[in-house]
């Protein structure tokens, strides 16, 4: 044992030494220590110097409110005062500034979503009583406390039996230690951080028993190592059995420091004096401690270099000491309460902000509610716990018996916000190095709001979020502004998290492979095995192209295109959205949604359709099949599958509930294979023994339900997004892979989305989202033919607005670069010939799609161009930084304009 470890007492395990290093030096502590208590046990009180002014600093607290003693452990910046000691711990002192290192974190984080009747936050006497009272009723109760052990301030109190609540006996009560309530959100949603688990608790009732934080005192050189909160001194002595000093002066504004003095004396530590701001502290306390009490006084300064050696009380008196324990009063920990939208009010008697009203289903008890006597804390907690359980439907609402406790005193406090002295050395926020002088400067600049002062001085913006310095700052502002009380100034806003939470904990399991679901089609494994290069489309992985050995993307796409135009090719089209639309009014419904008409579509036929938003802009497109009199199957683009279903449901449920039509998503019921090319008919004939695939028997834009040669039921449609003869085979998802393999065995060339894009662009078919961007109407696309003149549909009225009816809107056109080898980049802007290329250059539009075409033996593009259709035949320029591509405007169709190829 070192001289600083007291010979007995404490809740540390003296039989369990723990080795650790701090700033590269080796030390030993005990199991049950925090890093801070272990350092004190080794005589180390001084920590890293302050951030901005480089002043020596020491450990100030024993908990989450520590402003100084921060350490870097494994790249994480943590307070030494809450860091549990463990073997091999290696910590480096830091002054409020972390350092991220690139070491990958192997720690696993996860989350829990739980519900309860009563959540108790804080496991001090008030919280324990509340949890016991609630738990015994059978209510689902959760008690969360940030510390390693339950007990709260009782851990720092000698001789209190902590086993009385017997929580382990209640099967529906869950105790979460080392678990901090970090955020309190709407409808009693409380987020708890427990090491590597983030709990999301939805509670019917909440009892907040979060205790109180002791405040420091503000005087010159109050940041010197050896100035420590009185409650922290008590906790170090009683809980950890370490002595932060041997000769102590106590400075206080309230009764609580007297108990500290008694405990120190009992531990054999000298208390030289108590400096009490009150002219007449309770006589009983003064008599009980039996040390000099300097009344009506305040500490005004300290001496010492790296450690306090004496304190000044006014100009005349100086008392030697090696530790100054201060109690500037207590702040009820209203953080959670305030986050819950509770309002606080200023209470003169204890000079603190206390809970007032709150709209959520919660109660605040114990020191958090400014109840500072132990017996009252217990009673308040028990009553609240019983009440909460009762309101949640459990128990009769009566509180259980409580253990007897000695009476305590809590007479009025007398705050000391400002004392004489050098204000540039009177620290308010140790982490931010800000002083009374800074606050004076802020108010002098004309600032009246505490929020402005906070931002001018940065008080309260550090890791500890002003848990210690916040209220003293308000006190100083009040004095400087001549306000009647700190209550007139008010607090800044309490925000989550209550204590810092690592990014990794918030991210939880949603990382790497699990970051966002990867959606795969039934054929995915085949694509992987055949070397597909994938692209992300929404959450889907779709093959972009299938390079062969030695091929780059361009070569692969040209080859795939050639196969589709001249031979036989196949594509996985399973990701397209599919919705069954059923009911007697299905046709009428589709008529109201699509720009073109569907009510009269023949059974067994398909029709391409387009959807607009109410503002008239193109939203989605797809082919619609009529399955039966009252049944349609609509298809959507991959990215909009969910959006279109939602769109249908919204209009039907909220606008036209009288329409007898219902929707069912079947996107994933079906796997879809497009078989494309002049060779497709011959290749499929043996696969589709029951069908006559001839153009006469199986017309374009019709479909058949059939059975494949391997017995698999299929729906085959003659639709073509490439302009070639094509068949689309739909089979149940579980037959997708085998059917794909069946088709692949015919020698079809698999192709990806890029080839699909080239083929459709050669035909002038648009891709919604690529050739449109939410500002394009069907007319702009040259698709007037798809806009019915005879019926109303969503979006129609918008076409006659002045701007939508303008003739010079951006219209879809084709572009042929003058040099057939020049590839216009997609996204290239277009300008008229002859305009000077000095910015701002008037732009006419942009290239939406651009490719090399195997069929055309050249490059080509689609573009949206202002008044584009009138420019057909003219040349436009695409300035690209260091070069300019000239291209001729054409009709947006490049291949087989007569449509002769689709029948093969």
């Amino acid at each position: 044992m070192t001289a600083h470890r007291l010979p007995n007492g404490g809740r540390v395990d003296r039989a369990a030494p723990v080795r650790f290093t701090y700033d590269g030096k080796r030390y030993t502590g005990l199991r049950g220590d925090t890093l801070a208590s272990a350092l004190i046990a080794n005589g180390v009180l001084e920590v890293a110097p302050s951030s901005y002014r480089g002043r020596p600093r020491g450990i100030v607290t024993a908990g989450v409110d520590e402003p100084n003693a921060l350490v870097l452990v494994d790249g994480s910046l943590l307070p030494a005062t809450t860091l549990e000691l463990h073997d091999g711990l290696s910590a480096t002192g830091r002054s409020g500034v972390g350092r991220l290192t690139d070491s990958t974190d192997s720690v696993r984080h996860d989350k829990r979503y739980v519900h309860c009747d009563v959540l108790v936050v804080g496991g001090g006497p008030a919280g324990l009583a509340a949890a016991q009272a609630a738990g015994r009723t059978g209510a689902r109760t959760i008690l969360a406390d940030e510390r390693t052990e339950l007990g709260g301030t009782l851990l720092a109190t000698k001789g209190f039996d902590l086993s009385w609540p017997g929580l382990a006996e209640f099967p529906e009560t869950r105790v979460l230690s080392r678990t901090t309530a970090v955020g309190y959100y709407d409808q009693n949603y409380v987020v708890l951080a427990q090491r590597n688990t983030l709990w999301h608790v939805r509670a019917k009732r909440v009892v907040l028993a979060t205790g109180a934080h002791e405040r420091p005192l503000v005087f010159a050189d109050n940041d010197r190592p050896g100035v420590m909160l009185a409650s922290a001194v008590r906790e170090y002595v009683n809980r950890y059995a370490v002595a932060p000093g041997q000769n102590v002066v106590l400075a206080t504004t309230n009764d609580s420091a007297y108990q500290v003095a008694l405990d120190l004396i009992a531990a054999g530590i000298t208390v030289s004096a108590i400096v009490d701001s009150r002219p007449e502290p309770p006589a009983a306390l003064v008599n009980q401690v039996g040390v000099e009490v300097i009344t009506g006084s305040a500490v005004t300064g300290t001496e010492g270099r790296h450690r306090v050696s004496a304190v000044h009380i006014g100009p005349d008196r100086s008392i030697p000491c090696d530790l100054l324990a201060v109690s500037g009063g207590w702040n009820p920990a209203v953080h959670m309460f305030s986050q819950a939208q509770g309002r606080v009010r200023y209470e003169e008697r204890i000079a603190a902000f206390v809970p007032d009203t709150c709209p959520q289903d919660l109660e605040v008890v114990g020191a958090a509610n400014a109840t500072y006597e132990l017996a009252a804390c217990l009673a308040e907690g028990a009553a609240a716990g019983a009440r909460a359980a009762h309101l949640a439907g459990f128990g009769g609402g009566t509180a259980p018996e409580l253990p007897p406790v000695p009476a305590e005193s809590d007479s009025a406090h007398r705050p000391v916000w400002m004392v004489e002295g050098d204000e540039t050395l009177q620290f308010i926020d140790l982490q931010r190095d800000s002083t009374v002088a800074d606050i004076r400067r802020a108010t002098g600049a004309g600032l009246r709001s505490v929020e402005h002062v906070k931002r001018y001085t940065t008080v309260g913006t550090g890791l500890d979020q002003g848990r210690t310095g916040g209220v003293p700052a308000i006190g100083v502002i009040a004095e400087l502004l001549g306000a009647s009380s700190p209550g007139e100034v008010g607090t800044t806003t309490y925000r989550p998290p209550y204590t810092p939470v690592s990014f990794a904990l918030l991210a939880g399991r949603d990382r790497g492979e699990l970051h966002d679901p990867i959606r795969r089609t039934a054929m995915h494994s085949w694509h992987v095995a055949h070397g597909a290069v994938f692209e992300d489309v929404g959450q889907w992985k779709r093959p972009h192209h299938y390079p062969r050995a030695g091929e780059d993307a361009q070569a692969a796409v040209l080859r795939e295109c050639t196969a589709a135009r001249t031979g036989l090719a196949m594509m996985d089209a399973s990701t397209l959205g599919k919705i069954e639309v059923q009911g007697p009014d299905a046709g009428e419904f589709l008529n109201r949604m699509y720009t073109n008409a569907f009510a009269k579509l023949a059974i067994g036929s398909c029709r391409y359709g387009m959807l607009c938003r109410a503002d008239g802009m193109v939203f989605d497109d797809g082919v619609v099949l009529r399955l039966a009199e009252d049944r349609y199957l609509t298809t959507t683009t991959t990215g909009n599958a969910a959006a279109v279903l939602d769109w249908f449901e919204e209009w039907q449920q909220t606008e036209w509930p009288e329409l007898r039509v219902r929707f069912t998503s079947v996107t994933e019921q079906w796997a879809t294979i497009a078989v494309v090319g002049p060779g497709s008919r011959a290749a499929l004939t043996p696969l589709l023994p029951d069908l006559d695939l001839s153009a006469a028997a199986f017309g374009f834009m019709t479909f058949r339900d059939t059975v494949l040669c391997n017995g698999v039921p299929a729906r085959v449609a003659r639709v073509s997004f490439s302009g070639e003869l094509a068949f689309e085979i739909n089979v149940a998802t579980w037959h997708g892979l085998s059917t794909w393999e069946l088709v692949a065995n015919t020698g079809a060339t698999p192709y990806g989305t890029e080839t699909m894009h080239v083929l459709r662009a050669e035909k002038g078919f648009v891709i919604v989202g690529q050739d449109t961007d939410g500002t394009v109407t069907p007319q702009d696309l040259g698709m007037d033919w798809i806009v019915s003149k005879r019926k109303d549909f969503v979006g129609r009225r918008s076409f006659s607005r002045p701007d939508t009816a303008r003739p010079d809107r951006r219209q879809l056109v084709g572009l042929l670069p003058v040099d057939p080898d020049d590839l216009l980049p997609e996204g290239a802007q277009l300008v008229a010939g002859g305009v000077p290329l000095t910015p701002p250059v008037p732009m006419l539009g942009h290239v939406t799609s651009s490719y090399r075409s195997a069929a055309l033996g050249r490059t080509f593009a689609l573009a949206l161009v202002a008044g584009g259709r009138d420019l057909i035949g003219r040349e436009l320029l695409a300035p690209l930084g260091n070069r300019v591509i000239t291209a001729t405007v054409t009709e947006p169709i490049f291949y087989d304009p007569e449509g002769t190829r689709r029948d093969g």
Binding site: V97, T775, L880
Partner: protein, 405 residues
């Protein structure tokens, strides 16, 4: 030791009581209101002006934004006004004699899908022709510009490239507001805090003044600059505007030694992050979908945000969130602002900046001052008139600004 921020001036502003009447009253003491006041004095010599603020000056979105400044917008109308702003930013620290830490460290907008790439290239080309600096970077160039971005192809949404605007960057938000406020105050403009506008004094369709918690105040012209609260104010005058107010959240980490040299934004993965001068990582989250005036949002939005951030920046895993907060952003149907006259005589609006108005602060003040001084739109704000919703001539910046900051 940490980066020391520049000292603020000894004096910022008087705290006057409101007078009975002013030539111009600006409702809302955020960045836009304060900049408008400044430019009324600077450009138009109008100093008989009051800025009425219901709380503390610049305590609304101005106190809450992630401070990203850029001008690389898609459409000509937007590029013109945001680029005007960026040019103003470049001159303002000197002009206002206030070091508000304007740092042109460059903004990357990452592309993760071929669609992102097309949109990015489109924007770069449009920007260049509009005289806005813009470059397209390939993944290696991204890595060079911002070494901590994970560009490996194995991540869920690999980085396929990025647009870079080198002149873009950040500035310290409240210092900016105070710089405008101090100079406006020096010109004799009254900045009146704790003064909430609660109604309008009117004669038929003509607005004569405002009712406030500090008494009635008359004015020849009244300009609303109340951001998220504009609908509420307009409602007091019987006007309905195409605005919806949503929570938008942001967060900061503890102070960290410099790790992140620029600003990175990703629409697809939903991240935008920079490291402020003090050293904290400043990050924005997505807009909460529902309407709200509560200045706070939902925690799952933050959780998603962190997951996304770690995909792009694995090095952030051990950083801590120390504070989260929310603002109230006023969103228009086309994600562009509304600046100009209203159907009520003497009443003007400047609103709808949504998630991205900080960067526009100087230009917004410039054109709004012009509008309030002359009664007519400045050429830069002409396209942003309310009428566009009737004609359909929207300036749709959704594509380029899905998470517009």
């Amino acid at each position: 030791m940490s980066a020391v921020l520049p000292e603020h001036p000894e004096f910022l502003w008087r705290n006057p009581d409101p007078r009975r009447s002013y030539e111009v009253v600006i409702v809302g003491g955020g960045g836009h209101g304060l900049a408008t006041a400044y430019y009324l004095a600077r450009n138009h010599g109008i100093t008989n002006v009051a800025v009425l603020e219901r709380g503390w000056l610049a305590g609304g979105n101005m106190a809450r934004n992630t401070t990203i400044i850029r001008s690389n917008y898609l459409w000509d109308e937007s590029a013109a006004i945001y680029e005007h702003a960026l040019k103003q930013w470049e001159a303002l620290p000197e002009e206002l004699d206030y070091d508000f830490l304007f740092s042109q460290r460059g903004v990357l907008n990452l592309a993760h899908t071929p669609q992102d790439v097309r949109e990015g290239v489109r924007r770069v080309n449009a920007n260049q022709l509009n005289g806005v600096d813009a470059e397209w970077l390939n993944p290696d160039q991204v890595k060079e510009f911002c070494p901590i971005v994970d560009i490996s192809p194995g991540v869920r949404y690999p980085v396929l490239g990025a647009t870079l605007q080198p002149r873009a960057g950040i500035a310290k938000h409240d210092h900016v507001a105070w710089a405008f406020a101090r100079t406006a105050d020096e010109h004799g403009i009254d900045l009146i805090q704790d003064c909430e506008v609660t109604g309008f004094l009117r004669d038929g369709d003509k607005i004569l003044g405002v009712q406030t918690t500090r008494g009635p105040i008359m004015a020849d012209r009244i300009g609303l600059a109340a951001a998220g609260h504009t609908s509420v104010l307009a409602g007091l005058a019987g006007l309905r505007l195409p605005l919806q107010s949503h929570p938008l959240q942001a967060l900061v980490s503890e102070l960290l030694e410099p790790v992140h040299p620029c600003v990175v934004m990703s629409n697809h993965v939903h991240v935008y992050v920079s490291q402020a001068h003090k050293g904290e990582l400043v990050m924005g989250a997505g807009v909460d979908p529902y309407n709200s005036y509560a200045q706070r949002g939902s925690v799952h939005v933050i959780e998603r945000q962190m997951a996304a951030a770690l995909e792009l920046f694995p090095i952030f895993a051990r950083a801590h969130v120390i504070r989260t907060w929310g603002g109230i952003v006023d969103v228009t149907p086309d994600a562009s602002p509304i600046i100009g006259a209203t159907p009520l005589a003497n009443l003007f609006v400047n609103c709808g900046w949504g998630t991205g108005g900080f960067k526009a602060t100087p230009a917004s003040g410039w054109v709004y001052a012009h509008t309030l001084a002359t009664g007519r739109a400045h050429p830069l704000n002409e396209p942003f008139a309310l009428e566009r919703f009737t004609t359909g001539a929207l300036i749709d910046e959704h594509g380029a600004a899905a998470v517009a900051h």
